[in-house]
Amino acid sequence: MSERVFLKGNEAIARAALAAGMRCYFGYPITPQNDIPELLSAELPKAGGEFVQAESEVAAANMLLGAAACGVRAMTTSSSPGISLMQEAISYMAGSELPGVIVNMNRGGPGLGDIGPSQGDYYQSTRGGGHGDYRTLVLAPGTVQEAYDLTMLAFDLAFHYRNPVIVLGDAILGQMKEPVTPHAPARTADPEAASWCLEGAVGRPGRIIKSLFLEDGALAGQNTRLAAKYQAMEAEIRAEQFLVEDAELVVVAYGSIGRIAKSTVRKLRNAGHRVGLVRPITLFPFPSAMLRALADQGKRFLTIEHNLGQMVDDVRLAIRTVADSAFHGHLPGNLPTPNDFEAPILAALGADH
C-alpha cells in the first residue's frame, strides 16, 4: 500500500473513499468533480458497494441520508450549484444526527458562475448552509495527498460525531495531479453504529431516526445536545503553521490558495521579509485559539481567499480586532500564481519593506 501513485485530486478522493470502506455512493454530474463518480461507477461495485447516479443533487443527498440511517459509510460529491441543492438533506442529516461525507469541489459563483476554482462557498460550508441551527465539520485539503488523507478521515469523524462532514476542495485541487502515498485507514467500519442504525427491528422496539421534535422542550433538548457536540468538535481542529514564530505578518489562507500563498511566503522569506503562514485545515471548527495566540504576540494578519472575503470574518473574530487584519481577495476566472500574492503581502507588511 505504500507505493506512490500519480493521482488527480478527484481520483485521490475516490480512492480514499474506497479504501475507507465506503459502501454507497450517490452523485449527479457536475464539473469539476466528474472524475469522482466516473471512477467510483467502475470501482465501487467491484468492491461490493453500491453506485447510484441520482436524478438530481436533491435526490443524491437524500439517498445519502437513507444510507447513513442504516449505519453504512456513504458519500456524495458535487460542486457549488449542486451543493446548494443538497443543503436540504444536509440540514435534515444534522437534525437527525446522521453521518455522511459530502465533497464540494468549489467552483465560481454565484449562480451558474463558471467552472474555474473558487472559495465562494466558505460561508455556505461553515455556517450550516441549510436551514436551522447546525454545523458541519469542514475539512479543507491543500494538496492531493491531503485530499486523500482528509477524505478518509471524514468517514471516521462523521461516525464519531454522527454528523455530516464536508470536504471542501476546489477546481484546482480536483484537476491537479501529484504523487500520493495511499495508505490503510484507521478503520473501515463503525461497529458502534449498530446501537442506533436501522436494520429492521429484530426483537426490540423500533428505532426512529428523525429531525421533528414537536413535544414541549424536545427541540430545545435536541439543539442543546447538538450544541455540545459542535463544541466537542474543537478537538478536531487542525491547521498548518509555516514560519510564524518570528513573523511580523501572518498570512491566513486555506486549501489551494493556502498552498499557493505558502510559496509566496517562502519566496519573501528568502528575500528577508518576516512573513509566515497559517493554513486552516478544519474550517469548522476554526483554529481561532491559534490565531488569537499569534495576535497576542503582536503579529498582524493578511487573509487571502479566492473570493470577496469570507474566512476573513472568522480571522477577525478570532483576533478580535479588525485594525490589524488586512484582506486580499483573488477574483474568479483565473488561477492565481505565487507572484499574484507578492504585492498584497508586501503592502500588508508595510510600504517600507
Partner: protein
C-alpha cells in the same frame, strides 16, 4: 365510557390513539400495512420511510425501524436505505402533496430505476397537514383554501393520475389503485398492499399502491359524507384497478 376492543390487531400496530381527525382514512391505511407485513412475516426486517404531511407520525403507530424523509424525498431516502440494506423490506408512505407535487421527480426516478421498494401513496386530493390547500390531485371544481372558487382546469391544470403515470415507467412491476371506502374495497386494498410487498420480497422491482382516502376536515364534510364522496367523485376520476402487474403480463 368503557372501551371495548371489537377486533384483534397485528402486534406491530402500537396500541395508542392516533392523532388523525375523525373519519380520516390514514388509520385504515396504516392498519393494512401492518397486516400485510405481519402476514408476510417480515416485520423484523422492515424499514419504513415516513414523509411529510399528516402521516409523518407513522412511527408512532407502527413499531418499525423508521427514518423520516424531507418533504417529497422519501423515494430517494428509500433508495439509499435499500442500497445500504438490500435484504430489508423498505417502504415509503406518502401523501399526494408529498408524492405528486414536491416529490414528483423522486418518485418517477425511483420507479423508473426499479428500486426494490414499495410505495404506499395516500391520495386525499388535498394538503391535509398545512390546512387544506390545493394538491396536484385536487379534483376540478373542488374548493380548497388556495382555490376557493374550486379548481379550475384552465388555470390550475388537470388533477394528476399518479397510478397511470407510475405504471408507464419501466422499473414498475406492480401498480394498483385502491380505496378504503367500503368493506369490499378495504379487502381489495389489503390484497393489493400485501401483493406489493410480496413483489418486493420476490426481488421483482418497484411496487406502488395508491390508496384513495378521505380528509373530512379539509373537505369540510362529515366522515360519512366524505366517505360517500370517494365513491361519487373520486373513483370516477381515479378509477380503481391494477395498472401494471408484471407477473400477470409474464403469464406467471
Amino acid at each position: 365510557m368503557q372501551e371495548i376492543r371489537v377486533t384483534n390487531y397485528p402486534e406491530v400496530l402500537v396500541d395508542r390513539p392516533t392523532h388523525y381527525c375523525p373519519g380520516c382514512q390514514h388509520g385504515i391505511a396504516h392498519r393494512l400495512v401492518a397486516e400485510a407485513l405481519t402476514d408476510l412475516g417480515v416485520v423484523d426486517k422492515t424499514i419504513a420511510v415516513s414523509s411529510i404531511g399528516c402521516s409523518v407520525f407513522l412511527y408512532n403507530y407502527l413499531n418499525l425501524d423508521t427514518v423520516e424523509a424531507p418533504h417529497g424525498r422519501a423515494p430517494a431516502v428509500a433508495t439509499g436505505v435499500k442500497r445500504a440494506r438490500p435484504d430489508a423490506v423498505v417502504f415509503t408512505y406518502q401523501g399526494d402533496g408529498d408524492l405528486a407535487s414536491i416529490g414528483m421527480a423522486e418518485i418517477m426516478h425511483c420507479a423508473n430505476r426499479g428500486e426494490r421498494v414499495t410505495v404506499i401513496f395516500v391520495n386525499n386530493t388535498v394538503y391535509g397537514m398545512t390546512g387544506g390547500q390545493m394538491a396536484p390531485t385536487t379534483l376540478v371544481g373542488q374548493k380548497t383554501t388556495t382555490c376557493p372558487g374550486g379548481r379550475c382546469l384552465e388555470r390550475e391544470g388537470a388533477p394528476i393520475r399518479m397510478s397511470e403515470i407510475i405504471a408507464s415507467l419501466g422499473g414498475t412491476t406492480y401498480c394498483e389503485r385502491v380505496a378504503v371506502n367500503t368493506v369490499k374495497n378495504v379487502l381489495g386494498a389489503k390484497k393489493a398492499i400485501r401483493k406489493a410487498f410480496q413483489y418486493q420480497l420476490d426481488g421483482k422491482g418497484f411496487s406502488f399502491v395508491e390508496v384513495l382516502a378521505t380528509c373530512p376536515t379539509n373537505w369540510r364534510m362529515t366522515p360519512v359524507a366524505a366517505n360517500e364522496r370517494v365513491a361519487t367523485e373520486m373513483i370516477p376520476y381515479f378509477p380503481l384497478g391494477t395498472f401494471k402487474d408484471i407477473a400477470a403480463t409474464e403469464g406467471a
